[in-house]
């Protein structure tokens, strides 16, 4: 599955930029408005790009077209309602968004979560991660001009999606987490469907490799393109597959195991150079690791209740805590300040896409227009997650 990498593949657009800077190449700059409605922006995201021919001189992301003010809205809603609200932040990984909220309330209230609920949570979280990653597998390939992976990915997604639907009744916004456990136990047949779905993904992931990662044109388009420096990633708080692509071994599931993650055997794939190729490579490997976790969790599934001893009205006691989870796109953290009410006093939501995208102006400088699309695609962001 490994791909040979050579120095020759790495190209320096800076050479072109330097020629322009030294005046050897007389050109005129123009401002290109990429978005808010553009196929490569996955929603209403705008990039003010100053281009010089095909070279991007400067790029400034403009966000906020989908700002819904969640941090204000949650202050007027109780925790049960917020669960359904935060589910809509990153609409590709709904159940992952609900997780840190439940964890934060559990931490403040010192609630015990029964083991079955912990395992079930892991199963659902990881299945959701696979769904999310397959979606980005499809969209990244489509942005590079390969249309077929979309259909392959959606074929596999559908079986996992069916399992999620059996358990939660939803396909995107699940609203299944509760402080202290889960809404209800999973129905009969759920485990079979889930195992079927993830095993199918595990079987077919080699096809994906052959179709995309092994492709010579794909390698030319991605290797050495959009390199994200390790220090830069730390400085901007870049996390998730994008940080791991930049050779940063940073995964909340390993570093600070929450739920039952310490019980499972899984690897954290880490890239080498931080280019588009590595980011995508990490993404595909994570699909495989998540599938392994789901398998292990279902095999070791304990029996018992799915909800701990939870008071009828959930009121977090006075205090504050920062809780974070490994969202499919990176670190999703919630800083909960409670004054003992049924509603949070303040909930700062630290979304992964927000920090990941904020580094774009630096990465995009002196790249080609075509590379810009590849880089945007390889930063795996969801607009709802940036704007909240």
């Amino acid at each position: 599955m490994d791909v040979a990498r050579t120095e020759e593949n790495i190209r320096l657009p800076d050479e072109v930029a330097q020629e322009v800077a030294e005046g050897r190449l007389q050109t005129e700059q123009m401002v290109l408005n990429v978005g808010p409605q553009h196929p490569a922006t996955h929603g209403v995201f705008r990039l003010l790009a100053t281009i010089d021919g095909e070279v991007l001189v400067d790029a400034e992301p403009v966000i906020g077209y989908m700002h819904r003010g969640y941090e204000k809205l949650v202050e007027a809603r109780d925790y049960r309602q917020i669960t359904n609200l935060v589910s809509r932040m990153d609409w590709l990984s709904g159940i992952n968004n609900e997780m840190p909220l439940a964890l934060a309330v559990e931490t403040l209230m010192e609630l015990e979560v029964p083991p079955r609920a912990q395992y079930l949570r892991v199963v659902l979280l990881e299945m959701n991660r696979i769904l999310n990653h397959l979606m980005f597998f499809a969209s990244f390939a489509a942005e590079l001009g390969a249309i077929t992976p979309t259909f392959y990915a959606f074929r596999e997604r559908e079986d996992i999606q069916a399992a999620m639907e059996m358990a939660t009744g939803g396909r995107m916004h699940f609203g299944y987490m509760r402080p202290g456990g889960l809404k209800e136990d999973v129905p009969k047949g759920f485990f079979d469907q889930a195992l079927f779905g993830v095993r199918q993904v595990m079987d077919r992931i080699d096809d994906y490799y052959n179709l995309i990662i092994g492709n010579e044109i794909y390698k030319q388009r991605t290797i050495g393109v959009g390199v994200l420096d390790k220090e830069l990633a730390y400085n901007y708080g870049v996390s998730g597959p994008i940080a791991r692509g930049s050779n940063i071994d940073f995964d909340v599931r390993k570093d600070e195991p929450y739920l039952a993650y310490a019980d499972f055997d899984f690897e954290v794939p880490v890239g080498l150079n931080g280019d588009c190729f590595d980011r995508f490579w990490v993404l595909l490997h994570e699909v495989y690791e998540s599938a392994r976790i789901v398998e292990q969790a279902i095999e070791g599934m304990p029996s018992g209740p799915i909800l701990g001893k939870v008071p009828r009205v959930i009121q977090a006691p006075e205090g504050e805590v920062y809780v974070r989870c490994e969202n499919p796109l990176g670190e999703l953290g919630m800083y909960l300040v409670s004054d003992g009410d049924r509603r949070p006093y303040r909930l700062k939501i630290r979304t992964p896409s927000y920090n990941n995208v904020s580094v774009l102006p630096v990465v995009l400088r002196n790249t080609f227009v075509s590379d810009m699309i590849a880089i945007l695609g390889s930063f795996f962001f969801v607009l709802g997650d940036i704007d909240r």
Binding site: A76, Q81, D255, G319, V321, Y345, K348, R350
Partner: protein, 188 residues
């Protein structure tokens, strides 16, 4: 490189206080994370030191935001234990030691000012713009302190407690169980 040496709780507190000394006021452990309070004047030095100090190396910029505590516990509070009720909150994380550090920076509520930490952490560029429009805090020497989300002509600072959601002012809060709360429109 994953976490090499786990430093949390009291051990982390010792390291942080040893490094920062008198730069910070109150420092304590909260759910294994470190809470420190510092003045706006010291903030840049504090984050720079936390980032570089051996044994801490909080290189990962998690978030920068603010908390308005004026309505904490349902009552008007002119000041809190940390000083003024409005505070800037910076969260740093050390990937090598799994140490979380929350830096609380109380700022003047009438004329909130805080130096920008963008010279240390580039990630604060957007976070400070968001914080500025949402809380009305002026981050001095930020290179481009324009609105990130809100339109330029937006009035008010939405995340301040004094800013009421218009829907809540005319409509009762739908989630209320008690009649008097529903009539009061909640506290949104």
């Amino acid at each position: 490189m994953p976490v090499t040496e786990r430093v949390v709780g009291q051990q982390a507190l010792d390291r942080v206080t040893a490094e920062l000394g008198s730069l910070v006021g109150d420092a304590r452990v909260n759910f294994d994370q470190i809470d420190v309070t510092c003045t706006p004047g010291n903030l840049v030095e504090v984050v720079a030191k936390l980032r570089e100090a051996a044994g801490i190396e909080a290189r990962f910029f998690t978030f920068l935001s603010a908390v308005d505590r004026t309505a904490f516990g349902g009552e008007e509070r002119p000041d809190t234990e940390r000083g003024t009720p409005l505070e800037v909150l910076v969260h740093l994380y050390s990937p090598d030691h799994a140490t979380h550090i929350n830096i609380h920076v109380p700022v003047d509520q009438a004329d909130p000012r805080c130096p920008s930490i963008t010279s240390v952490f580039g990630g604060a560029l957007w976070a400070e713009r968001e914080c500025a429009e949402m809380f009305g805090i002026d981050f001095t020497d930020h290179p481009n302190l324009t609105n990130l989300y809100l339109p330029e002509d937006f009035e008010g600072n939405p995340l301040r407690k004094a800013f009421k959601l218009p829907t809540r002012m005319v409509k009762p809060w739908p989630g209320a169980k008690d009649p008097e709360e529903a009539a009061g429109g909640g506290r949104g």
